[in-house]
Symmetry: C2
Subunit: 234 residues, 2 copies
């Protein structure tokens, strides 16, 4: 008999090796509180995890797979904010504002995530200053990354934006150099704020100049210095 998606696994948070680093400062009793309201869920590639505009009830910790978070804008155009990999958590700004999701999340690989009730999370923020500070640290780093994204998207031309995307995938997501991605060309377009046709054209230029090797979704950055320069010069 298969495990149901809402199965709460017996392995507790205290002994879990796959928990987000933000939980490092929690004691056994605090981890048990999280464990009590925790649910582990499996998502298949392409499945929507939560949708912009719906109530935000859970803290989500990704333990397996990969997830894209994206803002749904006008004319069915999306802007991908992050590609989240294990073990990172996803928590939008809605929790301390209007309790809503302000971006959507979708699995781009088969994924597993733990959902933790937000009441528990917020209680821990109030009672454990180290936890609160760690959370503020994470929020701040995300904010700093957003500033970089602002500059990339608004002040760089297409080659610079694609360079940024490729470097992001190599350094922050897959963390290897020849890397295989499950992102479509449309996803790359949604990360760089351009049309998919333009993405394809720029990738071709990079290939023709031997800056990258790209075969379908297998990428290898051959000339990192050159790619960095393209990122710099916009």
């Amino acid at each position: 008999m298969p495990k149901y998606q809402y199965t709460q696994y017996s392995k507790g948070c205290a002994t879990c090796q796959d928990k987000a680093d933000i939980f490092a400062c929690l004691c056994q009793a605090e981890l048990d509180q999280i464990d009590d309201t925790r649910v582990e869920v499996h998502f298949k590639t392409g499945e929507l995890i939560f949708k912009q505009g719906t109530p935000n009830m859970h803290f989500l910790c990704l333990t397996q797979g990969k997830v894209k978070t994206y803002i749904e804008g006008y004319n069915n155009k999306n802007l991908i904010l992050n590609i989240v990999k294990p073990i990172e958590y996803i928590l939008g700004p809605g929790i301390y504002a209007d309790q809503m999701h302000h971006f959507s999340a979708m699995a781009i690989e088969d994924s597993v995530a733990c959902l933790v009730d937000l009441v528990t999370f917020k209680k821990l923020i109030r009672t454990n200053p180290d936890f609160a500070e760690d959370f503020l640290r994470k929020v701040s780093l995300q904010s700093i990354y957003n500033y970089e994204l602002f500059i990339s998207l608004t002040q760089k031309q297409m080659p610079g934006r694609i360079a940024d995307v490729l470097l992001y995938l190599k350094d922050k997501v897959y963390c290897t150099n020849p890397f295989h991605s499950t992102l479509s060309r449309q996803d790359l377009a949604d990360m760089s704020g351009m049309s998919k046709e333009s993405v394809i054209r720029i990738l071709r230029e990079f290939k023709d100049e031997n800056i990258i090797r790209a075969n379908g979704n297998d990428f290898e950055i051959l000339n990192i210095d050159h790619l960095n320069k393209i990122s710099q010069t916009g």
Copy 2:
């Protein structure tokens, strides 16, 4: 004899009517702690308040005037993030990351600000959960606004972006309808991610269509519905 810029005024935080709303949850003793490390500073129009890349040592509460915060990008191009008015505070993400400023701040009117030592601020975050939660609320609202900015800047065409800037100035900054701004055309360009010439052209179009009245830096939005529609349709 004139007051020096570093003069610490005698009026305490406890009785101050000009303090940011985030301080509402602090008790007398906590406000006194802030008061002890507080310095009031006057800035003239055009003066740099702090610069991106320098150490971030203070929480800044604006009590008079107006301030633009902006990211300094490539090729001397800036991206204005916010126009801050009294009584709001300015606090970047650096405090909980690398202790650096990640954007610059400049007075666009003669301004007065209180600077509070960050050690005191961070101590209060740790010891007063209400204060921490209020701060998280503020950070979250800023983050949500940034998402809107992302969509405006990356998915809208110039008329939509200018519409967003005009509505922002009317609703969030000057809060009156005929309003007078001290922002240059270049500033409007830095808010909407375009060239100043393009700003001028779009403003002219809006004038020709009787959507706005614009005489130098005096603006009046004549047809709010139309401007909202332009903002929506991009």
